[in-house]
Subunit: 154 residues, 2 copies
């Protein structure tokens, strides 16, 4: 059980969100900028999309338990939207059930580590441009909402 | 004098920042995602850079008074980094001193309006890609810092 409450006093995070927080901290330390719950296109929602200093796009799906993985029929749909794809799990997760071709990150709410780097499968140029543009707008809009919440009441 | 305090209880905003808030609210209503104090490259700092739904890049410099404009020797340096360039001022500003070729936005801390749309001077493709990528990363990093402030103490 992860024990890492949200310092901002928001509702408690779900286990997958706690894990996403630790993963995002780790990736930030490696100069990747992360966005949670990013929708690359309608019907898909990535747990994390990270943009690297050279434009790299890494998708990370956070799995809190075996059932969370086995019930997920969508993850392969994310592959065309990232140069590298990772599963992130905690140290109790049965990692042998995860596909070898995917990257593997082990972590908790405080941090994480990349334990298997997947091969890069570069995103097509037009799609990369579109994804980066969407990422830029979503990140700025969320930031704006946090910085100027009163502006949203209008 | 503008009278629009920051609802989040942060330090009082400077007049230019108050204006930037109103401009950002207006642009958001037109589906532009705004980032304040964006550095397109070393030595330059835009008051606002806004990214539109089609990838448009609009730069807005907020001028709180005549001296704020006349003492600014940098604004022409921003032109190559945006498809359209605007000055934003409040309704007491002597707008006749502003260059006609620049766009003009009149506003206050609560909102704004585009009163002169400048001609578009499209940013070069490679630079657009680089700016959008930088915007994406800066926005996500600032959002991350607000959402997970404890993660920054490490």
């Amino acid at each position: 059980m992860l024990d890492a409450s949200d310092p901002a006093g928001s509702p408690p995070l779900q286990p997958g969100q706690v894990l996403a927080r630790g993963v995002a901290r780790h990736l930030r330390d490696h100069d990747f900028a992360c966005l949670e719950e990013f929708v690359p296109e309608r019907g898909l929602r990535m747990d994390l999309l990270a943009v690297g200093p050279k434009g790299e796009l890494w998708c990370i799906e956070c799995k809190s338990c075996r059932a969370d993985f086995t019930s997920d029929g969508k993850w392969e749909g994310y592959l065309p939207f990232a140069d590298r794809f990772f599963f992130a799990v905690d140290c109790d997760f049965p990692t042998e059930i995860l596909p070898d071709a995917a990257g593997l990150i082990i972590g908790d709410g405080f941090g994480a580590e990349v334990v298997r780097m997947p091969e890069a499968m570069p995103v097509a140029t037009a799609r990369r441009r579109k994804l980066t543009h969407r990422f830029a707008r979503v990140a700025a809009q969320r930031l704006h909402r946090m910085r100027d919440p009163m502006g949203m009441l209008l």
